[in-house]
């Protein structure tokens, strides 16, 4: 191989399928994207909530990530309103996590012996989510292809165990593999019969253009604020209801535990995500003044932190069940 030839290099969907297969083969649950607007794979509950608590979990999923302010009307070859991440969570991370990651690159057709790869310091922090981690940006021939983070804290809570988060930038990797200068020229799929290609532009250009118009020009600011207030209010109500259960000392413990387990904290988290996205929209409409800004961020953070605390409590309630299941699995393992 001298240089990648677009005809022989993997298509965009080959890349996704390849990575999913790779991680599935290493014990990950392959999840579907969260079906709400999120700014990053980290915000999806499969990361934000699953990293909390003691339960081990390995998962991989594609997550379209919307950042309204990054939209460029489809004019810029590298910037997108909605880009796509492939997110892997390994909780806890194995000691060979970096080697595993490098193997995944080989699996999608990158011959590491022909390239220059570096792990350069890049720590991650999201004050809105009360979360931070330590890690690297992985550079391949000068291109940042992955964000590699050891999560240390989420929702203001120290993680135990910690987890490793691998976030692949799919458009970048595809453009690199296919050696194209514009994301819109990436071959998304190729008909195996006819060899006809469908490009990223064919699939997504209209999306980028129209949502840029909406985000920057047309989104109704008054409505957005109303939506924000409503979603926030409902989320707060749910959180208060959960806290009321926590404080209830008249009901028998077992009934309280049952009530907690069925409590829709997952729904509360979706409401929080709605608020977060609305904040981003309002921001891209230039509708948030300086004085408001800090306050609005704090409102979203309150929800996120409140949910993570409640979620941990809920997990604790479920702990006996988890322990019992582990014991069953352990017994099975011993029997094998």
């Amino acid at each position: 191989m001298t240089r990648s030839d677009q005809k022989t290099s993997p298509t965009y969907q080959d890349l996704i399928l390849g990575l999913e297969k790779f991680w599935a083969d290493r014990g990950c649950v392959v999840q579907q994207p969260h079906d709400l607007e999120v700014g990053a794979g980290t915000s999806a509950p499969e990361t934000f909530l699953r990293v909390l608590g003691p339960q081990p979990y390995n998962v991989a999923y594609v997550q379209p990530s919307r950042r309204p302010a990054d939209g460029r009307y489809g004019d810029n070859p590298n910037r997108l309103y909605k880009h796509t991440q492939l997110q892997v969570i390994l909780k806890p991370p194995p000691a060979t996590v970096q080697e595993l990651y490098l193997e995944s690159l080989t699996a999608i057709g990158i011959d590491l012996s022909q390239h220059d790869i570096k792990f350069e310091e890049d720590n991650w922090e999201s004050p809105t989510l009360g979360a931070w981690g330590i890690g690297w940006q992985v550079m391949l021939d000068g291109l940042e292809i992955t964000q590699f983070t050891y999560f240390q804290q989420c929702g203001g809570v120290d993680l135990d165990p910690i987890c490793a988060e691998l976030t692949y930038g799919l458009e970048r990797i595809a453009a690199f593999l296919q050696d194209v200068d514009s994301v819109y020229d990436i071959v998304w799929a190729r008909d195996p019969e006819t060899g006809l290609a469908v490009t990223y532009g064919d699939v997504r250009y209209a999306d980028e253009l129209q949502f840029s118009v909406y985000n920057f020009e047309r989104a109704n600011v008054d409505y957005l604020w109303k939506h924000f207030d409503l979603f926030e209010a409902e989320c707060q109500e749910l959180l208060s209801a959960y806290r009321a259960i926590e404080k209830d000392d008249k009901t028998p413990a077992e009934a309280v535990a049952c009530e907690k387990r069925r409590f829709p904290l997952l729904a509360a988290y979706d409401l929080c995500l709605k608020c977060s996205h609305l904040f981003n929209l309002l921001d891209s409409r230039g509708a948030i003044s300086v004085t408001e800004r800090v306050g609005v961020i704090a409102r979203v953070r309150n929800l996120a932190v409140g949910i993570s605390k409640a979620y941990l409590d809920q997990q604790g309630t479920a702990a006996p069940e988890v322990a019992a299941r582990k014991q069953r699995q352990g017994a099975q393992g011993a029997a094998d």
């Binding site: 001298t2 240089r3 810029n76 070859p77 590298n78 910037r79 991370p93 000691a95 970096q98 490098l102 590491l112 012996s113 022909q114 390239h115 220059d116 790869i117 570096k118 792990f119 350069e120 310091e121 720590n123 330590i134 690297w136 391949l140 021939d141 000068g142 291109l143 050891y150 240390q152 120290d158 135990d160 910690i162 690199f176 050696d179 200068d181 230039g286 948030i288 003044s289 300086v290 004085t291 800004r293 800090v294």
Partner: protein
């Protein structure tokens, strides 16, 4: 004598932390060997590091600690023997040290004679000592940012993945974070595999076989050579030296090589600042210049691999850089559609600090403050084009709303300057005015450090000082002043910048006025409601005094007592304080001056005593009750005062001080012959008046009593 090898195998350590960690580990191990009595005095240490390891090799450590003799003292002879027979006390002591009583020695001490014995402590084997002490030293290494991966109590920069500890060819049985030490190491991630280190002294060559150069110095040489070789492929070209970047790439690689890549000539239309920032800060590429010193359309990337025979890596890097440059071009063009002059209102949406409001508010304050500064400079006869300052202050922050600065934040100010130069700011403006505005905006954040240069023009200096003073005053008013090592808003750096700018532009400004004007800028604002800090004026004055002290000592290299002496006589006028300090620095080692300084110290002490005892000082010196020596000193001082003042007023401080030194003989004579603290109240008060007069007249340049004279004068 065996060799000791320690290698800590880690996931990639941040490049910026490696130098300090390598030094610190070496220091700790060296100290451990000395404290643990394992350094026979000629052990030789080499320190190594790569992104994935920190290592120390010590040749010739002691195989074990030397045995040591210790004298154990027992009971006194008095209680040890009764009637020549050993008492119970003596027998108990003998039993404890395992010797019969008759083998015990007697030692004389200041308290009398005692029973004693010499005990030999057998030295422990080196491996044992190291196994105990080394893990503690490693765990105690300081990291600017650390993490946990096993348990919250174990923090380190990145997870530990292997540990080598050898004495010659045998592993030392030690453990760190649950990882046992052994002889197995790992080579380059891609090019090397794992390897076993046969013996400590074979460290370098074993790692070389698995494609790791463990010596930072050697990697640096290799990178330099590779950069030279790659650059030679372009006639007349040279790569731009960049020590910081070089250090970074040394710490990012284990087996470095370099390649030369190219970019399209048309990108050279972008300003050099933008191109170099993209290459250097974002891609870690070295810039290349042609024979005339102009940026050439090439770059150098340092790889962590063998080479790039097929040009694949070069191609990839060129692709990334092209996309980056295209972005920059796109941003540049987009930004021009909305020129700076229209962006001022947009600053209302950019937060300066949550309690201090937006950058729009800041711009308004800075504009006013800059006008006040211009005015007072003008009053003092310094020519400032206040119209330029006014306009520059208004536009200074507008580049924060541009796409280019959002992308390359480190170019704030510079981009504003470049845009101001490229845009029509005002239809009636002349080219030289626009140029002056652009330069002031471009330089507004200067100096970024004590090594950095100050703004090139006086207008730029005024803008820079006003901007920084506004930030410092606002933060102090909110109670956010730096404490200890914490200075999140870099206020010390900003105040250093003010001091340096004022000093080097020789601006006749009062720090006190600057601070109070800056505070006044917040009057009536929303921000003011959040102001809590009391005693602001003193706090700000003290803060600037420290910064000036730092400048005089660390930048101008003046001795600390010179600086103290000068600042004790005033620090409000930076330029004046600098001149005084330089003058004192010049004369301070002259014999006559030291003698005067010693005398002033003595005078200060006399006044301290006088105050303690409640002695009065006469209002005026009375000749009629004075001795010859007093009269002479008084007369000389009276004669000198106008000349001293004249020299001081013309700021010829060195001359003033030399004049003052001529007083030495009379002063020495006075102190030789005259006793000040006599019993006669009138005479004593009169003598004190004479001395007070001296202090008052001649302490205006510096408080000479601060000068350390011991061991210097006669």
């Amino acid at each position: 004598m065996p060799d000791f090898l320690l290698e800590i195998g880690l996931e990639e350590v941040p490049a910026r932390m490696i130098d300090a960690a390598e030094t610190s580990l070496g220091f700790r191990i060296a100290k451990l060997l000395v404290d643990g009595r394992l350094d026979p005095g000629n052990a030789k240490m080499e320190e190594y590091s790569t992104p994935r390891r920190l290592a120390v090799l010590v040749r010739g450590v002691a195989a074990s600690q030397p045995d040591s003799e210790e004298q154990v003292v027992g009971p006194s002879l008095k209680v040890s023997f009764k009637d020549g027979q050993p008492t119970q006390a003596a027998q108990a002591f003998a039993k404890k040290v395992g010797l019969p009583v008759e083998k015990l020695e007697k030692v004389a001490t200041p308290k009398g004679e005692y029973l004693a014995v010499k005990v030999v402590n057998r030295g422990r084997a080196a491996g044992e000592v190291l196994a105990d002490a080394v893990p503690k030293e490693i765990a105690a290494l300081y990291w600017p940012k650390s993490m946990y991966w096993r348990s919250k109590n174990e923090r380190f920069v990145r997870p530990l993945r292997w540990l080598v500890a050898l004495l010659d060819d045998s592993a030392i049985p030690m453990e760190l974070f649950g990882m046992p030490a052994q002889a197995g190491t790992r080579g380059h991630r891609i090019l090397g595999g794992s390897a076993t280190i046969p013996r400590a002294s074979a460290y370098e060559e074993t790692l070389r076989e698995v494609k790791v150069i463990v010596s930072r110095g050697e990697r640096e040489q290799r990178i330099r050579k590779a950069l030279d070789a790659a650059t030679r492929t372009v006639a007349g070209a040279r790569w731009r030296e960049d020590p910081e970047l070089l250090d970074t790439v040394v710490n990012l690689t284990e087996w470095p090589a370099a390649i030369l890549g190219n970019f399209d000539r048309e990108f050279l239309d972008l300003p050099e600042e933008v191109l170099v920032t993209v290459m250097r800060d974002h891609q870690k590429y070295f810039a290349v210049q042609d024979a005339s010193g102009k940026l050439a359309p090439h770059f150098l990337a340092v790889l962590n691999t063998e080479g790039d025979p097929a040009g694949i890596i070069r191609h990839g890097n060129e692709r990334v850089l092209r996309a980056r440059f295209n972005d920059a071009c796109f941003f540049w063009q987009t930004d021009q559609k909305h020129p700076l002059r229209n962006r001022v209102p947009d600053l209302k949406k950019v937060t300066f600090q949550k309690d201090l409001g937006s950058y729009f508010d800041k711009s308004m304050r800075v504009q006013k403050l800059a006008s006040l500064i211009s005015q007072s400079l003008d009053d003092a006869g310094v020519k400032v084009r206040s119209g330029i300052v006014h306009k520059a202050a208004l536009l200074a922050k507008t580049d924060l709303t541009t796409e280019l600065v959002k992308e390359f934040t480190e170019l704030q100010g510079i981009v504003g300057g470049l845009y101001a130069r490229a845009q029509r700011l005002d239809p009636n403006m002349k080219d030289d005015q626009r140029e002056a505005i652009a330069t002031a905006i471009y330089d507004q954040y200067k100096p970024q450090s004590m090594e950095d240069s100050v703004p090139r023009t006086v207008e730029g200096a005024v803008l820079s000082v006003a901007d920084k003073a506004d930030s410092i005053a606002g933060m102090f008013a909110l109670g956010l002043q730096p404490t200890g090592s914490k200075d999140p808003f870099a206020l010390r750096r900003q105040a250093n910048g003010i001091v340096k700018t004022i000093a080097e532009h020789k601006l006749p400004l009062s720090l006190r006025h600057l601070c109070s004007d800056a505070l006044t800028g917040y009057t009536g604002s929303e921000a003011e409601k959040a102001f809590t800090a009391a005693g602001l004026d003193e706090a700000l004055a003290g803060f600037f005094r420290e910064r000036l002290e730092h400048y005089l000592r660390d930048v101008l290299g003046l001795e600390y007592d010179t600086v103290n002496a000068v600042l004790a006589a005033g620090f409000d006028d930076v330029v004046d304080a600098v001149a005084r300090a330089q003058a004192v620095g010049k004369v301070r080692d002259l014999q006559d001056f030291l003698s005067i300084a010693a005398a002033f110290k003595r005078i200060n002490n006399i006044f301290k005593q006088a105050q303690e005892k409640g002695f009065k000082t006469a209002a005026d010196f009375d000749d009629s009750i004075a001795t010859e020596e007093e009269k002479l000193l008084h007369a000389k001082a009276e004669l000198l005062a106008p000349r001293f003042d004249a020299a001081r007023e013309s700021r010829d401080y060195a001359d003033a001080l030399i004049q003052l030194s001529t007083l030495r003989e009379s002063v020495d004579n006075f102190f030789d012959k005259v006793m000040v603290m006599v019993d006669d109240d009138r005479v004593r008060a009169n003598r004190l008046a004479l001395l007070e007069n001296l202090l008052r007249s001649f302490s205006t340049i510096a408080d000479f009593s601060e000068i350390v004279t011991e061991g210097k004068g006669s």
